[in-house]
């Protein structure tokens, strides 16, 4: 039982990171209908920037907002400079650009910081508390920061005029222009926000997995899975999906271990967690392509 609680708790902590990445993916998807394959590498790059800032003597809690802001600018820059000429290009061209960006940031990180693994210390203080046996301080910190970020984003989109304008631009660009909204800039802002959210996800996950250029590859897959489970068109759904995937991968591995212990037959275990994510992606796409909370989009022809 104790182990079960532990697995769920650490699943929630991982899920928080998946939720962040899923949200970043959704942020770009709802306004452009594109899935940004470079989202993970951008987050990895941001995590390196945090590491660099720490090396220069900054504290983590100063480095994080600075890097998030810097990543925001990178995101805006990518949209304005690289993607803007492609607004009317076929989807495939955009996908190729995303893969190119992925390769660029991957190599860039390797070239600047090398391929040997680095460690970012956890920014959360070590302390014991009720339930310490089940979940570590860094995991609790990841969940808390993620939840705070999500609440802030929700408030931004729900209650500010700019947030409303971004939602309007994503939903109906033609009408948004007729309301005087600069839709192109709203897209760029969406990219910036996605990059900033990714920066938070990257720097929170780095202390848990070690920093290296490949660190986000599998995490991005979990992010995809989360976004798909929740519904790629629904920000709230993506967050829920991220947490669901995080808990699910741990539970399935846990049940697999339990099964092996009682019957001696190995079916699934910790080594197959990533497989679980992929199975989730395929299952969702087959059974409910719009996700648990997504909207079925209907086009009038």
């Amino acid at each position: 039982m104790e182990q079960l609680i532990q697995q769920v708790a650490s699943g929630l902590a991982n899920g928080a990171i998946y939720a962040c990445l899923a949200l970043a993916l959704v942020m770009i998807f709802v306004s452009t209908d594109h899935i940004n394959f470079a989202q993970g590498e951008l987050a990895m790059f941001s995590a390196y920037l945090v590491w660099q800032a720490l090396e220069w003597g900054m504290s983590f809690w100063l480095a994080l907002p600075v890097v998030a802001l810097f990543s925001f600018l990178i995101g805006v820059g990518i949209e304005r400079v690289i993607l803007r000429p492609l607004h009317h290009a076929p989807v495939l061209s955009v996908v190729v650009v995303f893969i190119g960006l992925l390769a660029i940031f991957h190599s860039l990180a390797g070239a600047i910081w090398g391929h040997t693994i680095k460690a970012i210390p956890s920014p959360f203080p070590h302390f014991t508390f009720v339930g310490s046996g089940y979940i570590g301080p860094h995991q609790i910190g990841m969940i808390l920061v993620t939840v705070m970020l999500l609440v802030a984003l929700f408030a931004f989109f729900r209650f500010t005029p700019l947030g409303l304008a971004m939602r309007a631009a994503a939903q109906n660009p033609a009408s948004a222009r007729l309301a005087g909204i600069r839709v192109d800039w709203m897209l760029a802002l969406g990219w910036g926000l996605a990059a900033a959210i990714g920066a938070v996800a990257g720097s929170l996950v780095a202390p848990a997995v070690y920093l290296e250029p490949n660190m986000m590859a599998s995490i991005l897959l979990y992010g995809f899975a989360g976004a798909l489970v929740g519904g790629i068109s629904s920000p709230g759904g993506a967050v829920a999906g991220g947490f669901i995937v995080g808990v699910l991968e741990n539970l399935i591995a846990y049940l697999g271990n339990l099964f092996e212990k009682t019957t001696g037959v190995y079916v699934i275990g910790n080594g197959e967690k990533l497989t679980v994510a992929l199975i989730i992606v395929i299952t969702v796409l087959t059974l409910k392509p719009s996700g648990l909370f997504g909207q079925v989009s209907v086009k009038r022809v």
Binding site: P161, L164, A165, R167, A168, Q171, N172, A174, S175, A176, R177, L178, A179, G180, I181, R182, V183
Partner: protein
């Protein structure tokens, strides 16, 4: 009186296809002008030209200032409210959010709040549905919402693309009555595109008749209405 909007020698293109060939017209401030013509005559395209939504050649001046070639959002910000074909509802947003989005560019928040009150006075049904998701409104209510969104921009000129389309006659009468009030009370000039020529000529003071991308006649609405030859050959009644 100087014209509010003056278009000269408009040509418009969708890709290789030329939709307008040589359209010129001018709107007087405070008036209601209607563009009439059959399907495909270029009425909607003319409105889209004014708002920079289609590739255009020729000159368009708003209050003497050239606006051809400007981005749609910049033209809107100069005080042009466009009620588009198909109503352009933000279906996932609430009615209230639809109206607030339209006031996004305005600096005068107090006046915008006052305009919201004015909108609710014109269309009380929107006030009753302010928290409802806009996609669930009826066609007539969505048309009212579209006009209200344009009104929330505090426009000098309102472009209306077939506000009667697909609506029951009673609703159309209601909407046209309020359009007249908006024109006289809120001092908004209007350019009205309509298939329903009889209805449009009731409301408008000036009329232009388009055929296959060209202006074939223009004049006072009353003259067009009373000219049987024009009515029979172009307006179909």
């Amino acid at each position: 009186m100087a014209a509010l909007l003056e278009a000269h020698g408009l040509k418009a293109f969708y890709g290789q296809t030329q939709a307008l060939h040589d359209v010129s017209f001018s709107l007087q401030p405070g008036g209601i002008t209607t563009l009439l013509g059959a399907n495909g005559a270029g009425k909607t395209t003319t409105l889209r030209c004014i708002c920079g939504m289609v590739r255009t050649e020729g000159s368009i001046k708003l209050d003497g200032q050239p606006i051809a070639g400007k981005a749609t959002e910049d033209i809107i910000r100069l005080g042009v409210g466009h009620v588009p074909e198909g109503r352009g509802t933000f279906t996932n947003l609430s009615v209230g959010e639809n109206l607030r989005v339209a006031a996004y560019t305005r600096k005068d928040k107090v006046a915008a709040e006052r305009d919201l009150g004015m909108v609710f006075e014109y269309f009380p049904i929107l006030k009753a549905r302010v928290h409802q998701q806009a996609g669930t409104l009826s066609g007539g209510e969505q048309q009212m919402l579209a006009i209200s969104r344009a009104l929330m921009l505090s426009p000098r000129l309102m472009l209306l693309d077939e506000p009667s389309f697909g609506l029951a006659p009673l609703i159309v009468q209601e909407i046209f009555r309020i359009m007249r009030r908006i024109n006289s009370e809120a001092k908004v000039s209007m350019l009205l595109v309509e298939q329903n020529a009889a209805l449009a000529l009731e409301l408008a003071d000036h009329a232009y008749v388009l055929e296959t991308g060209r202006v074939v006649m223009s004049g006072k609405a009353a003259d067009v209405k009373n000219n049987e030859a024009i009515r029979k050959s172009y307006l179909g009644y």
